[in-house]
Symmetry: D2
Subunit: 354 residues, 4 copies
């Protein structure tokens, strides 16, 4: 495998460059008989589009998905589902002077080292735009897991150092940052605006909650549910850290504090984050992903070009101030794909009901 496919049974392959003709995904292994239309996918893509939030890029991405295979009369057939999104409004010319320059914090340098050639326009394959294909594929995964009553919700836990004081999901659709704490959201918006003015960017933390997941999903040792979730989230370009349940804070607990007592009503606490020994407990899954600030900044930076010559760089063009909130549906997509895959894998070993 060359890195562009994930999953064992529910398999997602994405393809495409930021400024090529199109991007897309092939979803193989989707069970037959699931209702699926373009609008189901479009709905998720809309959530990833640059919005009205202060963090947003002014680039207009139509992001119209076309469903090319794998369905018949509105239902999946079990054959591969091909999704394509044409690239429009790509101002490739604005990248001309970046052709031989390595933008700090981007994949420019490493792609050049790895392949000896790269499509520099908009970051090519390493662009955040590739995640639109993930969101499209994730929309299908969401339908697969929804049949089993599983829902995945990502929200903004922290942005620019401002932390939500509640993690209740009640209010997350009420502000453009999908932050459960309306007051924190207002402060985050303000901080984003300040940052935009400075030509700088902000990082943050996303929390993802999975409800309705049955116990027993996840495989032993190497393909644990938490291991696969960590890989999926760390596979988003911007993510530099992942934790499950109590996560890094569990390192400061004692065993008697950290262990979740099991009672007749289920687990009394959830430091485990819904996963024990890599397998789901049936409780809520709780994950957090740390997102670094977007590396494309207006402020001048030191770097070099492909010949090693020092260059002073100010990145123009249209960029977000933070990957939050656009990253939220991407996180949901990645988690949903992992869950759909493990759901199918678990079925394979479950004795058929008599």
């Amino acid at each position: 495998m060359a890195g562009n496919t994930m999953g064992t049974l529910f398999r997602v392959t994405t393809w495409g460059e930021s400024h090529g003709p199109a991007i897309g995904a092939v979803v193989d292994g989707c069970p037959p008989g699931i209702d699926l239309e373009e609008k189901d996918i479009q709905k998720e893509l809309e959530r990833r589009k640059p919005g009205k939030a202060s963090s947003a890029s002014p680039r207009k991405e139509a992001d119209r998905v076309e469903l090319l295979s794998g369905t018949f009369e509105g239902k999946t057939t079990g054959t591969p589902i091909s999704l394509i999104i044409r690239n429009v409004d790509a101002e490739s010319a604005s990248y001309d002077d970046l052709r031989d320059v390595f933008r700090p914090g981007h994949g420019d340098f490493t792609y050049q080292m790895k392949y000896g050639i790269r499509d520099h326009r908009g970051g090519g394959r390493a662009s955040g735009r590739e995640t639109a294909a993930r969101v499209a594929a994730g929309a299908i995964a969401k339908k697969v897991i929804a049949r089993e009553g599983i829902t995945v919700t990502a929200f903004t836990l922290e942005l620019g150092g401002i932390t939500a004081r509640t993690t209740s999901l009640d209010n997350i659709r009420k502000n453009s940052l999908c932050c459960p704490d309306p007051k924190a959201a207002a402060r985050m918006e303000k901080k984003l605006e300040e940052s935009r003015k400075k030509g700088d960017t902000l990082g943050g933390i996303v929390e993802i909650r999975v409800k309705g997941c049955p116990p027993g999903l996840g495989e032993p040792v190497f393909e644990k549910m938490d291991a696969d979730l960590a890989r999926a989230l760390m596979g988003i370009g911007t993510v530099k850290g992942v934790e499950i349940g109590a996560g890094f804070s569990s390192a400061r607990m004692t065993g008697s504090e950290c262990n979740d007592p099991l009672t007749t009503l289920g687990f009394a606490t959830n430091n485990a984050g819904g996963i024990l020994a890599g397998i789901t407990t049936g409780g809520e899954i709780v994950i957090r992903a740390a997102c670094k600030p977007i590396p494309s900044i207006g402020k001048p930076q030191e770097t070099t070009d492909i010949l090693g010559k020092p260059v002073k760089l100010s990145i123009r063009g249209r960029h977000d101030v933070s990957v939050i909130p656009r990253i939220l549906p991407v996180c949901e997509a990645m988690v949903s794909i992992v869950l759909a895959d493990h759901l199918l894998r678990q079925r394979a070993i479950t004795p058929a009901k008599g």
Copy 2:
């Protein structure tokens, strides 16, 4: 795949239960012509054995590895390398009264939910003992990457809330906790001793550093180097969080703070942790793994049995107070296996030298 294999080209499969006849690993895809003898593997296993540190279990594991295939006259042949470690000194009887009880923080409950059957003795497959097989396989991975000048070193960054104030590798072999800060190490030892007396356990943070890694390793989008490292480390039962480079703290940085300037001498800083867009930069790779406290504690706990009946549980038997420092060679093994795999994968697309 059913979760017990990792890697695409350098592939490691582990097998075995804590109290079964043996545990072991099969390493497939190791390049031919590498010097390999049992003592190379034994050396790493010694590092994982319960030691004299205050954190150690009194269980004596002989952990003698036997090399059954894949070498000829002291060199690898390119065929699968089979490693086996017989289980000895396993006091299975001491687990008899745990047969139907779900120990909090362990995989007992989830294995029962997943498979409907489990080997309860010593945690079965979910036991930390399984990691001995990983360490054995990792010893081979270390030889593969050492040929390219790559070294992997794990050390104790934090234990029981006490943090090392330096991360220099100079002193890590000078104390039994492999902590770079001797004063912190002394305080950690003391805290471990206190915890043992209370019948409680401690968590901590491991840091892993990779030196000498060439640029260009890692695959795009889903099999990024950091994604695969995160999965590998989160695949260790005790790990609840993973971060690369600046990790979670990058969420509080601005872009201008977080971006590593590229100079004629290389990257001026290393917030990226040696990985950009999922591909190695050629700089040092820096990873941290958060380890929860060992769930087997002497203190009484609430739980239920397999019929849902409440049980008051005090775990007897021989257990460590912390996974640190025994987890260190396991972390090194996992990271080394990922690196060996990506090293071979990169060769496949690199034009042969003329």
Copy 3:
């Protein structure tokens, strides 16, 4: 994996139904820096198109391929290559009365059994049309192996019981059936014409020759070169038998007849077909694939519908009389993809040249 992907490092995924909006392929793992343009792929597709041969269907398939990703300024970049071919001239309505009928010899019955739903139009995913996507992907594989001097040539060895008396490749481009024996080709053409008049179809045997393959390609035991070639060819819907070198006739040889003596000039004979113990010898690879007659025949047939009711069926519509010669580029594509994959795999274990 759900069956629509082949390869470990050079990976091909195809998607699409005969009468859906499009078919296509994603090629992941192609090395960077290879010249690649749409016309390189189009050239191979032209060979698969219904031609002027007597065996041909009158359906006009424009088969214009569009290259959507993975190249930059005419060279591959190492990222996934997405290829799409729009379906045109698909007379779906002519399949309306086949909606609930299982055509003998087709996948109608088994797809219904497997998925409980199927796109009946033109055979859906099981249509021979899917092989156009393989040919497109194979065109890229051909370029990868051509760099190492490897060429793959398929020709018509037998058709309708008429066998070529020579297997010299000199004349195979001189007749529309790509048969090395011009006289046999003329008789084959006549037999095809007779068969068309009867509303019947013919089977045949394709031979594939690989020249310039270096020794050492293929993996031990399960992923032997011959095993992977057999799978690739048997993965073409029409193929019911595969043999390597002396193949089935080796079953009637003695060891002293069958063994190929090794001389200072190489192997004196080639009963092995260029593969020993699953690994290439450096000699010519010789494979034969037996193709059944096309199951879509005009003659009336007995079958049942989805409710099990007997049906008398005469298949109208536009169909070939034989898969030969259109299957030839498909066979070449499948063999080329296998070779490209094993070529990359072998590089991974080959010590870099100093």
Copy 4:
């Protein structure tokens, strides 16, 4: 993957060299709750052991299997099952003068070319002995498919040019060659004896029949049931050709002859061999594998050594005259493993029964 693993969900990895300390297999993905003891596996191994048949080698292989993991109190647990068979009675010294010689028809030359190093003793990894590990793993696969009522039976269809005139399975356990035609069996025995006296060997054809297979197993396009079966059988060192149903003879049929009519009682004929479009029909699966004569012959042969110098070679040592009948349980094992894997895969997409 480096070639020593097969299967997606039911995964078998084999390891070991003919004259190393041991050979073995790891079976991962076996469903939990299946009765499994060493004697279940031993029973199959006995069938592969050199017997009293005239074709047999006098090498005594104790072939005692040891079950090291994956079961608890006589039942599988869902965790990896490790099987080991110690090598005994290996007369390595008798191979000393073959150290630098390439035996014709063997993997000696190609392993040397591929790896630059090889264990020459007894053929190392390329030895037929490796198939004992497959038979051991296959015994587990047989138990998995037996639960669904599937049985796999291989028999001798042809040996040394003598063909069985019946394929009824009634008599196959009544002669040591497992030939359904007792008269043919007697002639085969005679021919084997003659061949042994001449220091020569014989090839033959094995037929495998699968009864009780449900419809719907097999995946589209690349992982068709017939494609996977062909790969599995061609992955046996001795096999040079594989055909399904009418196989090569279908190349000489017309469509009206070859199509199997579907009636209210099922398929009226079985030219398809129980597989249509790569998916099982529910009818009997019929496969044939052509086995070349064993390359180790007493007769003098021309070859070269590792330096390219011509060598005259007479192979001493203990060798079979034909792979038949010892290959029969190997064929059954390979087919059973493929079926077990596809059975689990099909479950994953089958809606749970309400």
